[in-house]
Symmetry: C2
Subunit: 297 residues, 2 copies
């Protein structure tokens, strides 16, 4: 790795941000900040990068951000945060902030698009032509890589807000402020907390709430398989990551929804098609680094 290029990455999360500089996959410096207002947050991140740059001149910068964000390089407002309930961030010119300070190639994408790219480069989805990364935590986010490129389209995937089919016996109204019982309103951390009146991260694997959540996430998997036919779906995040029992429920529900229709996606195949991240909790900063590397390919 000693001849790998020096690269830098920024992950802009809903509650915290991380800046890193790395040689290949080896992270040499890291700074963590709380996400507050855009001016303070972005200044803190670029200060860290500027300090490191003198000592370790990085050759590219990748930026992964919470959404919605304008990620199409052709758009006039590329690099900006789109209308968001997060105070002060609507219209924040994230990419411009860094482009004004560092004269290196930059790539800007969603945090989940970046994580999908990292899982394809170094993680569970290595060698896949088309794969997806799903984070299930405070929200539900999806990144899709097709033919080696993060899929953007007009905006970027927002599949956390899919209206999945409801189970007949599940009457929970959901917590999404836009849709009520869309997937995020039914199966995100806050949704699970609202269902049981407690913290979603400390629920035993045999709690009945996982039947509904597993079924609803299975509907998302079936939707992804029927729509973009990924060779691999990685499930991470505070709720989705590190829960083998939930993964099994999700696989069962996926197979049930597909009902044997899709060649190569029966229950046995889903054992490898759907799985945990290869990069574990490092997907965020590694995603930003994968974006940086994509500018040098």
């Amino acid at each position: 790795m000693s001849d790998a290029p020096l690269i830098a990455g920024v992950e802009l999360g809903g509650t915290k941000c991380i800046a890193v500089v790395a040689r290949g996959t080896e992270i040499l410096r890291e700074r963590r900040l709380p996400t507050t207002d855009p001016a303070t947050t972005l200044a803190g991140l670029s200060e860290a990068l500027a300090e490191w740059q003198a000592e370790m001149p990085f050759t590219a910068l990748g930026i992964g951000t919470f959404g919605p964000a304008r990620v199409s390089p052709e758009a006039a407002d590329c690099g900006q945060i789109l209308p968001t309930p997060k105070p002060g961030w609507t219209g924040a010119r994230v990419l411009d902030h860094f482009a004004d300070r560092f004269a290196v190639p930059m790539a800007f994408d969603t945090d989940v698009g970046a994580a999908a790219l990292a899982e394809g480069r170094w993680g569970r989805a290595r060698g896949c032509s088309t794969h997806a990364y799903v984070t299930v935590g405070t929200g539900i986010g999806i990144g899709i890589v097709a033919n080696g490129q993060v899929l953007h389209g007009a905006l970027h995937p927002e599949a956390g807000h899919l209206r999945v089919r409801r189970r007949r016996d599940d009457a929970f109204a959901g917590v999404c402020p836009f849709h009520g019982d869309c997937l995020e309103g039914l199966a995100s951390g806050p949704a699970i907390a609202a269902r049981i009146g407690g913290d979603a991260t400390h629920i035993a694997d045999d709690h009945p709430v996982w039947s509904d959540v597993g079924a609803e996430l299975g509907e998302l998997m079936a939707t992804l398989i029927l729509t973009v036919s990924p060779e691999c779906i990685v499930i991470g995040g505070g709720v989705g990551g590190g829960r083998p029992a939930l993964l099994d429920r999700i696989r069962d529900a996926t197979a049930g929804a597909l009902a044997g229709y899709v060649p190569g996606a029966d229950r046995a195949a889903l054992e490898t098609l759907i799985g945990p991240p290869g990069l574990e909790a490092r997907a965020g900063p590694m995603g930003a680094l994968a974006l940086a590397l994509s500018t040098l390919d």
Copy 2:
């Protein structure tokens, strides 16, 4: 167009097949055959091509087929029909049949993937980086183009079989032999015929069945927008094509399902985002020609 290359195309449909030879988009010869057993059908098509080749030596061949089919060029069984209820066609080596007879570059894809490519090259989706083509007829099929390439993944889209959310007051059991009330089981031509006990192509625009069908197709649109974020969705096929009133119902339902969440996809934007084919009924053979041209790019 006189300096455009001579190209050939084959469309393999569920009930009929078409072979064409063209200069650019100008079709010079065309032959139509019923789809019977693979040996007879493929021989009829290659016979037509062989006749034309002597007189008009075409430089590439595109083949668009009903699915499921193996379309990944890397796969050992690329060019074959996958397990299908259509008698005799499971395992049919379609691409090999033509590759054994014609020494020109060939591209093989689904009929809907090919139609999506043609709508991107010459039709409604010109200039889009990511778009979708949806046919609603005997079945419901979807082709997606992302960054100029037909999206394959592990198989190809099969989004006709999505389990869309049901309307509470719609108790129709559906006609899909695999899933009952998946989208195709609810909103395809045979499904509509089963709902009303008559032919779907002769139903007045104000018939109540269109409320359910429009709502269900709107769920598909919302799913596509939330998953692959197309800049344009083209709706064609025997049921979906040429019905402005149905398109309006679909747009209304899509806007309802998205509930204002997706920037750039409000009801006014859907007026242009979702629309009829630019190529009308020619999408099939034009799709095959677009595939042929893709080998020359």
